[in-house]
Amino acid sequence: MKLNSIQDLEALRQKICKGYDPQQKRIRICMTGCLAHGADKVRDALADELKKQGLEQKVELIETGCFGFCAKAPVVAIDPDDIFYQQVQPEDAAEIISETIIEGKIIDRLTYLDKQSGQRLPYSRDIPFYKKQVKHVLSRCGRIDPKRIDHYLLYDGYKALIKVLTSLSPEEVIDIIKKSALRGRGGGGFQTGLKWEFCRSAPGEPKYLVCNADEGDPGAFMDRGLLEGDPHSVLEGMLIGAYAIGAKYGYIYVRAEYPLAIKHLKIALADLESLGLLGDRILGTDFSFHLQIKEGAGAFVCGEETALMASIEGRRGMPRPRPPFPAIKGLWGNPTNINNVETFGNVPLIILQGSEEYSRLGTEKSKGTKIFALAGRINNTGLVEIPMGTRLREIIFDIGGGPPKGRKFKAVQLGGPSGGCIPEEHLDVPIDYDSLISLGAIMGSGGMIVMDAANCMVDVARFFLEFIQNESCGKCIPCRIGTKRMLEIVTRITEGKGEESDLELLQELAEGIKATSLCGLGQTAPNPVLSTLRYFADEYRAHILEKRCPAHCCIALIKFEVDVDLCKRCGLCKKVCPTGAVSWMPKTAASIDKSLCIKCKTCIENCPAQAII
């Protein structure tokens, strides 16, 4: 059914709203991130059970996007009360239907256990992980079925587009975005409104609008979450952006590693086209916009905007010098505006709320909220959305629950290969674009990897250099060869072959590479080394001077011997050893037969006393 006017769309929305009973029982299940924990089997079991009990017409089973609390996957929620069930198994389905749906009773064992109070917390709103969050961009994620446009319309979807088409000129839209002070969520933090203005005023037709969904930073999955869980919010932001800059054509460049995001986007685009919300004369107005998906082919550097454009044009994704900036000379030489997924996700909110209301949240120079992906050695892994200005400590400890097994927090890595590691003493800094830069990290796209005492910071620096070496496009020498030299030096240090002068050499190389690389990838590639040198120089020195890895992480520096004084004589190492290299008898210290040991570190990972040295 094609909608020929804005009235048609409003009539459709009214029809959808009329048919929606908020008091109806609904079961929501995450069918995105939770799939890795078998959410599909849980969904099938719930559907079967509903059928068996004759409830399929009365109870709606909604396949949603990410709830955020990935650590508790698979997660299920039951409306209208918003009961939160975690780690649900297919065997729980029958009980959920007969107890909770029919009887209205809460199944205790499936609820969240608050370790501090020892209490069971059955409702999402009471769980500490959710309490400190402010879900604006993610407000629909985990609530709606991302494959259904009627769900999006029910929750105010495309209202911002209507507002723009009926009452705002392109210049006024740009003005609102400028006043909101929205900054690019992909990492750079450039003012979105300004970017739009540059592109709008650049000569040349047609203009292009691109969404950068090549979320390549390892440890980042915010954009994946948003695209999989609420693709229409991003598409609505794109439509508004296209209207503002006068773009006729657009692309969403999605990395190939996100098949589900691509699938949901394809469904969303098909729905928009058939409803007349994409294409020529959208909703009968003079505004036309054509949008297509471009799948990446596995190259981290394609997140860089000039490389991304080369890739869309079908070439090797290699960056080129700027200026000219894409706003002047972009895709096929025409003015092109590129924003990140989350940036577009903010746009409809700003239009609906107004710039003043929007910018009430945040710090002086960073407004609104930011989505972070919490991962690494932290209890509550998942997606969180917090107001700018929240302290890192609140995210990592109050929301994230700190490192597991009571291990000591060591550092948090932000901004992926372009970012840095922040140690404990700086956790009380309010997060915004500028405060993080002053700490030697960057906001980046929002990946937050927590490290504990068992992570070696030299090894982390080496990891990132190896990553950069794999992903450097090879066009400019500082990045291609400079990071190779840095990798060789840091590898040497992790193998116990480092020299004292290496630290100075690393610093010098880092500064040279920063100053002379062609694109952002190379210019920021030394950051992980610089930030670990800044805060963890003693770990580098322990490797170099004492030939010791304090975290017992670098294999060449581990003796694979048991410290009998530390050994708790628990025998866990023997139990987990895959090659039978550990001998242990009750009440005696373990020992390792080095001829059988394959140095897999399974024993070290599991030893409660850090007794394997």
């Binding site: 924990h37 996957a73 190939a256 799948e295 079908g314 070439r315 919490l374 690494g376």
Partner: protein
């Protein structure tokens, strides 16, 4: 030497993409999906149809991690080597799988069953360390779990019995 593949599919795809700008990468992706790799014989056909020199096509194939020039195994293992997986021990997991299959990263077992690859990040960081075998995700890997997954695969058990926490 292997037989040269049936190129009917390549010709079909090229028919759909003729005269389209930016067609090369989508064309390669379609061919790769179909054949599991980009056959040498396909490159000449692409060059002719899209009017791009073969050298440039090889440039693109070798630039992107997703394109292969050799057939892939029946099961492609994609082990994530992102940051979250790294700090949770994915390197040991990789070494473990390499030992188990007797191949290195990027190689395919002699019987053509398994190809082992690492990827920069699967974006499933919340369940790190993680890998995919074809389209299925396996999260929170440990040495023990990896053992079990491969034993089950060898005995032909499907994933159903392997979903675990």
């Amino acid at each position: 030497m292997s037989q040269s593949p049936d190129l009917t599919y390549v010709k079909q795809i090229l028919e759909n993409y003729k005269n389209k700008s930016g067609a090369l990468i989508p064309v390669l992706q379609k061919i790769q999906d179909h054949y599991t790799y980009i056959p040498e014989e396909a490159v000449d056909l692409i060059a002719e149809a899209l009017n791009i020199p073969p050298s440039e096509i090889y440039g693109v194939i070798t630039f992107y991690a997703q394109f292969y020039t050799r057939p892939q195994g029946k099961y492609t293992i994609r082990l994530c080597r992102g940051t979250a997986c790294h700090v949770k021990g994915s390197k040991s997991i990789l070494e473990n799988i390499e030992r188990k299959l007797g191949i290195k990263e990027g190689e395919t077992t002699q019987d053509g069953l398994y190809t082992l690859r690492t990827v920069a990040c699967l974006g499933a960081c919340a369940v790190a360390p993680v890998m995919m075998i074809n389209d299925d995700y396996y999260g929170e890997l440990t040495a023990e779990k990896v053992d079990k997954i491969f034993t089950n695969m060898a005995t032909g058990e499907t994933r159903e019995s392997q979903v675990e926490k």
